[in-house]
């Protein structure tokens, strides 16, 4: 995942890439969600200065930009950990015991929606990742792990070096 994201947009090519994304949409306010997607991809999360920059460039009130960024689950206003565990809590995963997986992660790492103090692991839950045939499923750093048990999760945590 991303390296530690800056608190303010710094002068590197990420800014240029974001600029390019905005110009591709002719700095139209309608493209706010697309621009936020790009910004999060580049910077890892949406910091307040970043949101302000976007609001300024798209000529939108900052309140509107924050309103949209905070409305959608996909956008993260806080930095993420080095590794991300997303436990699917869709119906199929739920009846297959996904809560046990959340418990394991909360016991060993952090509460769902939070990151460990050392910034190593973020624990998240998802509404349904559409892998219901493989329930219960967990996404570890972008890869879907199928039919996972708390014991397998423990092994996965060991692999990335969580005590």
């Amino acid at each position: 995942m991303s390296a530690s994201p800056p608190t303010a947009p710094v002068k590197d090519n990420r800014e240029k890439l974001l600029e390019r994304a905005m110009s591709r949409h002719q700095y139209s306010g309608d493209a706010l969600i697309e621009v936020l997607h790009t910004a999060q991809e580049l910077f890892g999360f949406l910091s307040p200065p970043l949101l302000k920059t976007i609001a300024h460039k798209l000529r939108l009130p900052p309140s509107r930009v924050l309103g949209v960024a905070s409305f959608y689950h996909f956008f993260s206003l806080k930095p993420k950990g080095e590794h991300t565990f997303v436990v699917c809590l869709g119906t199929a995963c739920y009846v297959a015991g996904a809560l046990g997986l959340v418990e394991t992660l909360e016991r060993r790492c952090a509460k769902a929606g939070h990151t460990t103090p050392d910034g190593k692991v973020s624990v998240e839950t998802a509404r349904c990742i559409g892998s219901c045939g493989l329930a219960p499923a967990v996404i570890v750093d972008g890869a879907v792990l199928a039919r996972i048990s708390p014991a397998m999760l423990d092994r996965e945590l060991e692999r990335i070096g969580v005590q």
Partner: protein, 551 residues
């Protein structure tokens, strides 16, 4: 590309495929990918090279083959046998020209004559698992874009709409509005700019039909949308797809680029006057955006909050222009309807529900995966013949329609599944998620689970939904820990009525459905939780059982 080129390319590609000794199909849909299909495909490709069989044997990645529980799936050999749980170690045997080499795999062969396959009727999924979703020529070989050519050449927009009306196709997103009527409404509007929108914001937990269609056969959806654009007079289409569906997004982007390059989308389509562009809009994780007015707000870059209807989107939708919004599966039906005619399509299904329905089977069932059955198939056929029944357990309920649907008990197993009959028993067709529960599932907890979902996904615009879901959730939560009183049950019922009658959009109006259907069919479970402080399924912890209730 002209229409002649289209047919020529089809013949060429079919002949090329026929000349191959072995065309190995490897399922690379999301399900199989997450159990190692990508590595398997690479291993097979390497093995073809190693055995010097290039030009005679090829490997294709395909969309979902259906039996996700046995993935990764591979179809190989002149005898076209399907193998499950394949690994890179099997590559040599799969590539080998000698069928005897595949005898070692016999134990993992899947019988294509089993009811799982024979009881299905495939229209939407006709190409899924057969064509490479990343190759336009594969889709063309399967007859792709010929329906678009037929509509542009042989039909007026009005005739195209008539054909869709005749088919009796109803919206596959869940509500079941007649598709032809919707198209007619948009076509009738005298506006210079109109839009066609494909709703691919599949948010119901337990549903992965649209994802599989987009991943397995993206061109079919593009073709359906282009035909719709021609019929209603739109030149711009949008696909609003969930941000979580990375593979589907990637394949759609590839497909759009390919189709534009060959003038099957974009300007001068098939060298005719018609033009139609399709752009993707990536959702950002809000369930309410499946509601059409919220979806429109989201495409416009705003918070995805619904608005009062009317005006309905066919009159005033995206940026105030007439907008046709259909679900992925609805569009995927269109090319076949145009190809084979509305009459043919309406010969499948029941009196009020025509055609087929794709279901995602999940939960406590042997064959989890993706299936397509004619409307009117019974739940028993779907769950026991196709689904293979419940492993180590007894059927208790089937949940359809996600958080807007209900739980269907055993007594309705022989009910034909269509829009009307599901509505009659308090559930809905929904988008097609079908989750099976056995005796270890607690119905009160299931109701709590869905209410929590609705509570968190409520957009907060209208009070009945925003505050009502919180109150209902709290009552259900207290039931599952043994804190509820009989008054709570009455309150739950009255809140259910309130939400249904007064919420602004479908999310709030249907949020009580899981509660009402479980209350109706499993009242004894609620009674046990409240009066005996006991969970009959043994699922709820009932942490506060035995303590005095907080009245």
């Amino acid at each position: 590309m002209t229409v002649e080129d289209l047919f020529e390319q089809q013949t060429e590609e079919l002949e090329r495929q026929k000349s191959l000794e072995n065309r190995i199909l490897c399922c690379t849909a999301a399900g199989c990918n997450s159990c190692g299909a990508t590595g398997l495909r690479t291993a097979i490709a390497a093995e073809i090279k190693a055995q010097g069989s290039e030009g005679r044997v090829e490997v294709c990645g395909t969309g979902c083959m259906g039996m996700c529980s046995r993935g990764p799936l591979v179809l190989s050999g002149a005898d076209r046998r399907l193998y499950g749980n394949a690994t890179p170690a099997d590559a040599a045997a799969l590539v080998s020209p000698n069928p005897i080499d595949r005898q070692g795999l016999a134990a993992r062969a899947i019988d294509l004559d089993s009811p799982f396959f024979t009881k299905q009727v495939k229209i939407v999924l006709a190409n899924s698992g057969r064509v490479d979703p990343e190759k336009l020529t594969d889709y063309i070989a399967a007859g792709g874009y010929q329906s678009l050519a037929k509509a542009l050449n042989d039909q007026t927009p009005r005739q195209t709409i008539e054909e869709v009306k005749k088919s009796g196709l109803r919206g596959r997103g869940g509500a079941g509005y007649p598709t032809g009527l919707k198209w007619e409404l948009v076509a009738k509007q005298a506006a210079p700019v109109k839009y066609v929108v494909c709703n691919a914001d599949e948010g119901d937990p337990g549903a992965f039909m649209d994802r599989s269609v987009l991943e397995g056969d993206p061109h079919r959806v593009l073709e359906g949308m282009a035909i719709a654009g021609y019929a209603v007079g739109a030149q711009q289409g949008y696909i609003y797809v969930r941000g979580e569906y990375g593979l589907a997004i990637q394949r759609l982007q590839t497909a759009i680029k390919q189709a534009e390059r060959e003038h099957l989308l974009g300007t001068r389509i098939l060298e005719q006057g018609f033009q139609f562009r399709i752009d993707l809009r990536i959702g950002a994780g809000a369930f309410v955006c499946g509601e059409e007015t919220a979806l429109i707000a989201s495409i416009e870059g705003k918070r995805g909050q619904p608005r009062q209807r009317p005006p309905y989107p066919p009159e005033s939708g995206l940026w105030g222009a007439p907008t046709l919004i259909n679900n992925v599966e609805t569009f995927a039906n269109i090319p076949t309807i145009i190809e084979r005619g509305g009459e043919w399509f309406s010969s499948i299904g029941t009196a009020g529900s025509k055609g087929t329905k794709v279901f995602a089977l999940a939960g406590k069932i042997a064959n989890t995966g993706l299936i397509e059955v004619p409307m009117g198939a019974t739940l028993r056929e779907i769950l026991f013949d196709i689904g293979g029944g419940i492993p180590n357990g007894r059927f208790k309920a089937a949940q359809t329609g996600g958080p807007s649907g209900g739980c269907i008990p055993e007594q309705f197993l022989d009910l034909p599944v269509d829009y009307e009959s599901l509505a009659r028993i308090g559930s809905i067709m929904g988008s097609g998620g079908l989750i099976v529960m056995d005796e270890s599932s607690c119905m009160v907890d299931v109701a709590r689970f869905f209410m929590e979902f609705c509570m968190e996904e409520s957009c907060g615009k209208c009070i009945p939904c925003r505050a009502g879901t919180v109150q209902m959730y709290d009552i259900l939560r207290r039931m599952t820990i043994g804190e509820a009183t009989p008054d709570d049950l009455e309150m739950l019922k009255s809140l259910s009525e309130l939400l249904r009658e007064t919420s602004l959009c479908g999310l709030g109006q249907t949020a009580p459905n899981p509660v009402m259907s479980t209350l109706k069919y499993f009242p004894q479970e609620y009674e046990s939780h409240i009066r005996e402080r006991r969970c009959p399924a043994g699922h709820c912890t009932m942490a506060h059982a035995g303590q005095e209730a907080i009245a």
